[in-house]
Amino acid sequence: MAKVTMTVNGRAMSAEAEGRTLLSDFLRQGLGLTGTHVGCDTSQCGACTVHVDGLAVKSCSVLAMDVAGANVTTIEGMANADGSLSTLQQAFQDHHGLQCGFCTPGMVMSAAALLADTPKPTEAEVRHHLEGNICRCTGYHNIVKAVLAASGQDVGKVGIAAE
């Protein structure tokens, strides 16, 4: 065991970790940040997506020690400073982009990474970008609507081209 420190949601945070401790476990068990979900634990589902130095990664497939010192952003860091939902989070609520909510932290983190690079994505770009995030409830249309709405675009025709 060794003490591992990283900047999480803007604050320096430390906890004990083993060599094998995954970033997802470090966040959830070491730091108590349970918003990051572990769905499949085999790097397929994307529920554990967080940002490491600005890049979206699957935290269940990254070793905590390998990102010691990095800047990590989790779903807990996505709300506005006053605690209200960010534009993207609010769009998920407004457009019913979640049902059970398990995949939602990963969806939000993945979508936020897309919008940081591509502020006005097309519907096809949103769907393609979310390839690594699996949702069992929504059928994806409302998630795509939420991401497009968060980028300030019309969502009236979402799903029509994809049918």
Partner: protein
Amino acid sequence: MYDFEFVKPASLAEAVAAMGRDGAQALSGGMTLLPTMKQRLNQPDSLVSLNGLAELKGVSVAGGVLTIGAATTHATVAREAGAYPALAALAGQIGDPMVRNRGTIGGSLANNDPAACYPSAVLASGATVVTNQREIAADDYFQGLFSTALEEGEIITAVKFPIPDKAAYVKFAQPASRFALTGVFVAKGPAGVRVAVTGASEDGVFRWTEAEEALSANFAPSALDGLTVEADGMIGDLHGTPEYRAHLVKVITKRAVAAAG
């Protein structure tokens, strides 16, 4: 996952020293290695992370050769390898965005998964795999399923791609894993045409030499009309029979030739 000692060297020399110890295993992006360790299919005594080595990262072009540092991620190659568009396009189709932000070219080549994308580009381009000890020609590097010419403790440092006149990669993706059910990389350069197939054979990536001869005479999809691919030795699993994959090899090669123009 069984525990291990985690080592993160700050230089290639330190990494080489750490890899010299018994039971040491190099860790790059970890997109394959860590899942296999979770399943307890792999149990190294120590993991030597190559992720802190700036000297192993980056994309550069000089004299018609594109050089990619071994620890360069797929996302970086997709973004920065514009001098070799077919290669950049291949990197942009690997896995999903999160996998591309973490997985590396060196890690993919060291693992040599029979359905990985990069081995086909390396073999079709006639690229050179550079290690801390030597330079290995692509034709000598791939030695079957998950097997390579790498010696114990040897670390890939870079890959050098001669940029061809025309090239394309077409992948028929397995929709859940996004690995290639069959993928074909076609490259036409001064030395002729090279065709490398991934995802299809039980021996991993291979060159389809009959197609290379036909395409060297006439670089058009129709040049392949008279050729057949034997199902013998092709992978058979729940996603496709050996016959299906053999059929795909020809179809996808035609598409790749058409895409290369």
